[in-house]
Each structure stands twice: as structure tokens, then as C-alpha cells.
């Protein structure tokens, strides 16, 4: 998938994460987290794996983590990417690329 425009998903509430994606020529992921020291690497790995699954190879992805579980991180990254392509509201491939 190609990030076509800026989009965001998630909130800054506890146990959530706010993910912003922006179009760019290269792929950059930046993570800030209330638990960066303990989980920073794991958060980044989850975000990377999700982007890889969505075949996103370029774009700037910013994650503000508030202690989200892996499944929440995935949901927020996926939603932000789908929103950036305007395809988040219907016919989402549940169980396909979203898994």
C-alpha cells in the first residue's frame, strides 16, 4: 500500500497509541512512549511488522504510545494507513492483510 495523504488513528488515552502516517520518499518510524525504555524495541518491531504486512515501503510513521498492547498498536497502524488511502470504512480485508 502507498500512503497517499496524512492520516491519524488512535488517542492519547492510557493503553492506547496515536499513530500518524505521512507520505514520504523513504520509510521512517519514530516512537515515543511512556514505557520506551522497557518496550521501545518491541513497539518498533510490531509497527515494522505491521507495515511490512501492509506492504508499506515508504512514509513517515509517528507513534505516540501510551502503554498499548500489541493488538492495539496493530489496529492503530492499520487504521491510519487505510485512512490515508480512504479505504478504512468499507470492504476491509478482515483476516486477509488485516490479521
Amino acid at each position: 500500500m502507498v500512503i497517499e495523504k496524512s492520516a491519524m488513528a488512535g488517542t492519547l488515552e492510557s493503553s492506547d497509541a496515536q499513530v500518524t502516517v505521512e507520505p514520504a520518499d523513504d520509510l521512517q518510524i519514530s516512537v515515543s512512549s511512556s514505557v520506551l525504555n522497557q518496550y521501545g524495541r518491541q513497539i518498533k518491531a510490531t509497527v515494522e511488522a505491521t507495515l511490512e504486512r501492509l506492504e508499506v515501503t515508504s512514509g513517515h510513521v509517528t507513534v505516540v504510545d501510551k502503554g498499548a498492547l500489541d493488538c492495539t498498536l496493530k489496529a492503530r497502524v492499520e487504521c491510519a494507513v487505510f485512512r490515508s488511502c480512504d479505504i478504512s470504512a468499507s470492504d476491509v480485508p478482515w483476516g486477509g492483510v488485516i490479521r
Binding site: A9, G10, E13, S14, S15, D16, A68, L69, D70, C71, T72, K74, A75, R76, E78, C79, F82, R83, S88, A89, S90, D91, V92, W94, G95, I98, R99
Partner: protein
Amino acid sequence: MTQHVTRPKPEKNRLRRTMMFMNAQKPGLIKDAYIYGADTIMLDLEDAVAESQKDAARFSLYHALTTIDYGDTEVLVRINGLDTPHWQEDIRVAVAGGADGIRIAKCESAQDVKTVEEHILMAEREFGIEEGRTLIMAALESARGVVNAYEICTASDRLFGVALAGGDFRKDMRVKVTESGIDIMVARGMMLLAARAAGVQCFDTNFADFKNMEGFENEVRQNHQMGFDGKSIINPRQIRLVHQVFTPSAKEVDHAERLVRAYNEQASAGVGVFTFEGKMVDIAHVRDAQDLLKLAKASGVYHGDL
């Protein structure tokens, strides 16, 4: 490949004393919703989720359903009304995620149930889910819905029950919440009659003022006396009381057990009506006692062999 949680096949008739509503868009709520011990969790895509977040809530819901192990807790999804642009995608995600069932908001007719059923079947086929697995319950939120309760209750084999949704219903009737419950008494009665006539379960609306425990207790006791199977709740603090009221007491269990045993002895001797502890007993009492034991067993307070 991610490891998926596989939920057991949903049971149409199961214990549903409490249905706790959770905003599907809030990860902090849904990640450990099951620890409170409600019989059913209702992951909400409707009123709790802002219009601009309907899409995000579905992504969050899908991963919750497939990742979080809710154990024996039933997991239902409340979809948006059929008059919105959201309900079809809501059904797709709920079925794909393996939810036990779908709650139809603002259900007004048998046709509403059939429409949802049709889309559930389409989704089951699309996602390779066993056909017929996904259950349905209908929320009656208008005068029209309550008047059509019987046709709604009999519209689908998947439908396990109906619930009253007091907020919208009161608006439709132009009444306000009363302590005695007279504002929605007729609707409760009509819905219960329809549900019993159709052989499905029946649930009461939530009690919004969760700080008023005395008012809540009165309402729960009245619900139980009227014959409801359970109640919607919005706060984990409400669970214990509902379970207490809806679970048979040790004395009731003991009495029912003795009655059923006495009947079994008499029945094998070919007797119909008989005397038990000085009172005349017929088959209806025995069925009552058997139902009570079933409820007690499901509630974990009877471990006998009847």
C-alpha cells in the same frame, strides 16, 4: 502468522444474567473486560463510538476478538442501526473476528432481523466461518419495536433473545425515568410476553444512575420478579448484585432437588399428581424445579446429578 483465539461454538440458550457494555474503540476497556465476571460482554460499535471513529473501532474490535482470550464469557457486538452507513461493515468485522453474536440496535420489525441475518450469512461465507454460528439478539428501542416484539422474536433461528433499550424508548414515548418503573412497565410486560411466547430470552435495559445502588437493587429485584433472564449493565460494580438476585439461593436449590427426586421416584411408579411435603405437586412445578436446577448449575451453585 498471528496466533488466533478460537472461541467455542456459541450456545443459543446459555446463562446471560449480565451483559456489560464496552466501547470497542477504547483499548483500555476491552483488553481486560472479562475479568469482572459478567456473563456476556457487549463490544459496542454504536452509541459509545463517535461518528468519526467508526472505522477505527472496527480495527480495534477485530484484533480484540482474535487476540484476547475471553474464556467462557460470551462476546457479542452491538452494530450500528440499519438506518446508518455503518452496519454492513460492522457485521463483516464481527463475523470475521468470530464474535458469538450480533445485537441489532433499534430493531423494529421481523424484516430488520432477516436483513441482518442475510448479511451475517454472506459474511460467514466470505470469511469461511461455520454457517449459522453467529447468533442474533434484537434491541427494541421504539414503540414500533415493542409492538412488533413477537414477529421479531420469531424472525430467525439464530435469535436468542430481545432486550429493551430504555434511553431511546423513553424518548419515543415522551416519558422520563421513574423510580417505580411505571414509565416502561407496559413495554417490559409486552416484550416479556412476546419473548416467552416465542421461547427466547428477555433482557431489561440498563440502569444509568450507577451511583444509586438502592434504586438499582429495587429495579433488579423487580426485573427478576417479572421474569427477565438478565440485564444490561454499564459498570462492573453492578455485576455482583444482578448475579446475586438472578442466582437461586441454597434453600431454593435444596427444595428443587428434593422435589425432582421425589417426582422421579413417583414417575417410575406411574403417578402423575402427587403430594410433596404436604403440598400437591403437578408436572408444572417439576418443570419449574428442573429449570431452577439448570440455572443453578449454570451459575455454579449446584453440582448434583439432576
